[in-house]
């Protein structure tokens, strides 16, 4: 019984996070002494199939069917379900992407299993597999063990495994043609689009002051705006601030907003949920101001002040102005 990594592509291009999943599968395969295979679904996969053949794997599967040209949960669940039925894997791994969120729980349910989603690591203890994930938006860690019979299903948080550990090699790639009918696919995906052009380019900002829900209300924003001005920084925000319409969505940092890597990222009243962290953890120097010493943002911060932002932010502005 092998470990099967399910990789993700769109329009013939890999979603890079797939390579983290592949590297994780290789690592698990080694530690558990199991063969590793990988699958990718789509239509006309010749190029991706040959790239898949360049990895150290037992076997690759190109799950190829014209009805898989555009991603649908129905199509992917049927097709990958048939592959799983045939190869009976021990463990099926996915990257925890929006796409996996959309179909992996369905696929697991169809096998009578539960997807262990968003894992951040694993350990092998006495030959048994322990998965690590977080609860309460990163505030609690937990060890989990699969129960019952395989196949087991897990998705891996982006950044939890390193794609640069991927071992090159070669493997045979089989084209797997699932049985699908158009009537089985009930949703019709239309084109992918972006909202109106953005007018701020946070990506090229040298300094960013980012504000979160700790600010409590829109009326308090000018205080943070002042800090941004004193630092010569762009103003950005966590998602709830943009959801509330207090700042435009183009200023949102995170998995559903912009990814930034300024010299200085100063987070004010932001807890540091993973969806926020992925958008800013590449910043050179990270500063957090938060009243909760256990806030996950401190996990990535170089400098921090544990305190009330309503006192700390004005004090910072004053200090910066004094030094001008």
């Amino acid at each position: 019984m092998s470990i099967l990594a399910v990789l993700e592509q769109r329009a013939g291009a890999w979603n890079r996070v797939s390579f983290e999943t592949l590297a994780a599968a290789q690592q698990l395969g080694e530690e558990l002494g199991r063969e590793v295979s990988a699958a990718v679904a789509g239509a006309g996969l010749e190029n991706l199939a040959s790239e898949l053949g360049g990895h150290r794997l037992g076997r690759g599967y190109a799950v190829d069917h014209p009805l898989l040209e555009n991603y649908t949960a129905d199509g992917y669940t049927l097709a990958l379900g048939q592959l799983i039925e045939r190869i009976k894997p021990f463990l099926v791994l996915f990257p925890h992407t929006y796409q996996a969120r959309d179909f992996a729980p369905k696929l697991a349910t169809r096998s009578g299993r539960v997807l262990l989603s968003d894992a951040i690591g694993h350990r092998v203890e006495n030959g048994g597999l322990v998965m690590v994930r977080q609860f309460f938006q990163g505030k609690i860690n937990a060890d989990l063990r699969f129960a019952g019979e395989p196949p087991y299903f897990a998705s891996l948080q982006a950044g939890a495994y390193r794609a640069d550990r991927l071992a090159p090699g070669s493997c045979p790639v089989e084209t797997f043609r699932p049985e699908l009918e158009a009537a089985q696919i009930r949703t019709r995906p239309l084109e992918v689009f972006r909202e109106a052009e953005t007018t701020v380019d946070l990506g090229s900002a040298e300094r960013i002051v980012s504000v979160g829900r700790g600010i409590r209300e829109a009326d308090n924003l000018p205080m943070v705006q002042k800090l941004a001005e004193a630092l010569g920084a762009e103003l950005a925000a966590s998602r709830p601030i943009c959801d509330n319409g207090w700042l435009p969505m183009e200023r949102q940092v995170g998995s559903s907003g912009q990814t930034v890597s300024p010299k200085l990222y100063l987070a004010v009243g932001i807890s540091g949920a993973i969806q926020h962290l992925v958008g800013m953890k590449g910043s050179k120097t990270i500063v957090a101001i938060n009243k909760d010493p256990e806030a996950p943002i401190f996990e990535v911060a170089d400098y921090g002040i544990v305190g009330d932002l309503f006192q700390v932010v004005p004090a910072l502005v004053e200090e910066l102005e004094k030094r001008k």
Partner: protein, 252 residues
């Protein structure tokens, strides 16, 4: 339209979390509606206002969740179903979803809405499992819903600021993303009316426990990064921080 909205009660956002007894110390917690579920409820109420029909809320959990149910009724939900068990952790996510699916199927809904994930467990799978159990088409992480001629057109959020429209027939299930619309407040009138609205209580029997996984141990995350923290008064801390940013990090 009959619209079912699944809402979950979770520990309040600023709860102090302490590992205890294989989970977290529950005596420390206060509770509130899961944030994405509040947006799912909002969308369910908006669609009812637009298309007529009924919005029914469904919540699984111990007696305390009645508070969250009442708040949903006060905002305008018509009635509620409470799947009651004193220890929700006795059920695997799949078992809970099975009980929910049974209750939902009995209502013959046109549309089922859930939040895209819970802020406590964060598995993000209950909606998708329900869709599979109920045999419904679904879409996840939805930011806009239009009902047209008995069919749905939704706007799904994708990563990095991208979106996609998806069409599907009704009945269907959608998982809703926070921010889909401005949340309403309950009115005094709504709160009064809620007292007389029906809450159907369905006691749950813990099942055999099915294949999933078990939480073996919980802990506070170990900090791997040494963050330099500045103490003292806000002025002192601010002065030290600016000093470091200027001369150590050299980012000013």
């Amino acid at each position: 339209m009959t619209i079912i909205v699944c809402i979950k009660q979770v520990p309040a956002r600023e709860s102090h979390l302490r590992p205890a007894g294989g989970w977290v110390e529950e005596a420390d917690l206060s509770y509130e509606i899961n944030e994405p579920d509040a947006f799912a409820l909002e969308e369910g109420l908006r669609l009812k206002e637009q298309h007529g029909g009924e919005t029914v809320v469904l919540s699984a959990g111990p007696a305390r969740v009645v508070q969250t149910i009442r708040e949903a009724l006060a905002k305008g939900a018509d009635r509620a179903i409470h799947l009651e068990h004193e220890n929700p952790r006795a059920f695997s996510p799949l078992e809970t979803a099975r009980f929910m699916a049974d209750a939902i199927a009995g209502e013959k809904p046109d549309l089922v809405l859930t939040g895209l994930q819970s802020d406590d467990l964060g598995y993000g799978h209950t909606g998708v499992i329900l869709a599979e159990l109920l045999g419904l088409p679904h879409a996840t992480i939805v930011m806009q819903v239009e009902v047209r001629d008995g069919a749905l057109r939704v706007k799904r959020e994708l990563e990095g600021g991208w979106f996609q429209h998806v069409e599907m027939p009704l009945p269907a299930l959608l998982t809703i993303q926070s921010g889909i619309g401005a949340l309403r407040y309950a009115t005094l009138m709504g709160i009064k009316k809620a007292r007389t609205k029906e809450i159907r209580r369905v006691p749950l029997e813990a099942g055999p426990g099915d294949a999933g996984f078990q939480v073996e141990r919980v802990s506070l995350p170990a900090r791997s990064k040494a963050t330099r923290l500045f103490d003292g008064s806000p002025q002192e801390a601010a002065a030290q921080l600016v000093e470091k940013l200027k001369f150590e990090a050299r980012v000013l």
